[in-house]
Amino acid sequence: MSFRIVVLAKQVPDTRNVGKDAMKADSTVNRSALPAIFNPEDLHALEQALSIKDRMEDAEVIILTMGPPRAAEIIREALYRGATSGVLITDRKFAGSDTLATSYALSLAVKKLEPHLVIAGRQAIDGDTAQVGPQVAEKLNIPQVTYCEEVKEVNQDELVIKRRLERGIEIVKGKTPLLITVHSSAPPCRPRHAKLLMQYKHARTVSELVDETKDYTEMMTNKPYLRIEEWSVADLDADVEYLGLSGSPTKVKKIENVVMAKKDSVELTAEDKDIDYLMKELIDSHVIG
């Protein structure tokens, strides 16, 4: 019997590098200047899945992402590193989803795939919420193990997992079906494999094929593994009320850019007299001493 793993991965704007060019003159974030990347902790999640696949006969790794059509990029990225196949769920009706609506949509797709194990990243760097993993587990009514650093043992029925907590570690045993979220202290993802890159570089979703100038018909028939599944709301049999904006209890009331108010500051040099003055001042005002 095969062991099926679904990895939840998200394409995110690279908020770590909000540098000078990503800030507009009015000090708002220029999102389009930020490259779209594979959410870093989801790569750690993928590595955990791939390492289980290395260890188990018959394990398959399916990468699942919800996002706009271009999010298919990260599915290819996962295929280059050893994932078995991928599913993109995309639909305008998902727009405006908060974590609750996102996890509802993802959970429906996971249900269709019937995995033994679901692996998510701990959190996505665009929102930093770390909510989607546990919420998908709740929607699926399966247990969760968060902050996984290492899957120590795995078989069809159970996993032994090392968790990384703020002040220590825990080793836990969980029964399948199970959802785990992976911490950034887990091993980084293996690089792309040259052979897989060649094999999958033409992998496409249906919507991507529409935009291709080249004719893919023959290639897709001969090599069905190049077809990336694409599901819409209709394929998920979803209750639209729980999707997108209407399914999202949280609303963004206001967004402010971070502008630091300038303080009147005293400017000093490294010369003795300046440091002497500063230390006196701090002592006299009882800040120190």
């Binding site: 919420q135 199970l178 963004v252 500051s265 400017e267 120190i288 001493g289």
Partner: protein, 339 residues
């Protein structure tokens, strides 16, 4: 009904710092809208735990005490909280943004189909009118948090679902005893009628939790080093100065990533939030993720060889120069002036 609930974390028979901070905040929120403050305590051997909690102005403590409830496991805790919330219908529920709170709160929010905002840095009441429906809301909880890598600050609301849920990191809210003789009511949760074997699907085999050794949060003076400190050896100077002034050493993430110091010392969005009376930023550029954790310090000194470093904007004193020059001089002139 419609009260303010705080989930209290327990470690070794003690209520976690973050939970006490949230109780302090919860009391203030409760006073503002004239509601009660209720605490949820789940664990084992909790006799007498109320003595740690009532002084924060708690009106009702819900205690679930059972051997299956300690150490923390997601499913049994979530089941008890969900049951309790269905029954009590809180207006607001706050959890620590810790490895427990961030594991538990999303699961609870999903089960109750309500909104949850992670890692809030501020919680205040405000009004809201919905443009489309024209509906007016009074006293909604504004859940304010940095987003998008800390480059923006978002105010999140949950107009229509209850409870309004939020997590808050340790150190963000101030801990303050409300009244040391305050007494409320203790209610016991009947655990056996709620839990079944299905809730025990995950089992803890081993657990190694260290007592927090380094705690820079309460330090009145913090000497914080960044990537500009340059090396582990140079950090020794910061430790010398900290010892002399009776302070602690903090760090930026870049310094932690470079291996100069322990992660427990990291200040900022993904570290701890501090509000000392003096914060000396040595070789720290002042990225928003860092300043989010220290900009409420009473006095800030920046030591940086770049006059344009963003941190200088929020500093009271800016010393332009190299850390390795300046710290020894500060030590020298401190000694001279206190003699």
């Amino acid at each position: 009904m419609h009260n303010i609930f705080v989930y209290c974390e327990i470690e070794d028979g003690h209520v976690a710092e973050v939970s006490l901070e949230l109780l302090t905040k919860g009391r203030k929120l409760a006073n503002e809208i004239d509601r009660k403050l209720e605490a949820v305590v789940i664990g084992h051997n909790l006799k007498g735990i109320e003595d740690q909690i009532f002084p924060y102005g708690v009106d009702v403590i819900h205690v679930a005490d059972n051997s299956r409830l300690y150490p923390y496991l997601t499913l049994p805790h979530a089941e008890i909280v969900v049951n309790l919330f269905k029954q009590e219908e809180p207006e607001i529920a706050i959890f620590g943004a810790t490895s427990v709170g961030r594991d538990l709160a999303p699961r609870v929010a999903s089960a109750l189909k309500c909104g949850l905002t992670a890692d809030c840095t501020s919680l205040v009441f405000g009004d809201h009118s919905e443009n489309k429906t024209g509906k007016e809301y009074k006293n909604l909880l504004y859940q304010i948090r940095p987003a998008f890598g800390g480059n923006i600050i978002a105010t999140i609301i949950n107009p229509d679902t209850r409870p309004q849920m939020a997590t808050v990191r340790e150190g963000v809210m101030k801990k303050e005893v409300f009244n040391s003789t305050y007494k409320g009511e203790v209610k016991h949760v009947n655990v056996d009628t709620i839990l079944n074997d299905g809730h025990m699907a995950v089992e803890i085999l081993e657990r190694h939790i260290e007592k927090q050794k380094i705690n820079i949060k309460g330090a009145p003076i913090i000497i914080s080093g960044g990537y500009g400190v340059g090396s582990k050896e140079n950090f020794d100077m910061l430790f010398d100065l900290a010892e002399l002034l009776g302070g602690e050493v903090g760090a930026s993430r870049a310094a932690v990533d470079a291996g100069f110091v322990d992660h427990a010392r990291q200040v900022g969005q993904t570290g701890i939030t501090v509000r000392p009376k003096l914060y000396i930023a040595c070789g720290i550029s002042g990225a928003v993720q860092h300043t989010a954790g220290m900009n409420e310090s009473v006095k800030i000194i920046s030591i940086n060889n770049d006059p344009k470093a963003p941190i200088n904007q929020i500093a009271d004193y800016v010393i332009i120069g190299s850390v390795a020059d300046i710290i020894p001089k500060m030590i020298k002139f401190y000694k001279k002036n206190t003699k």
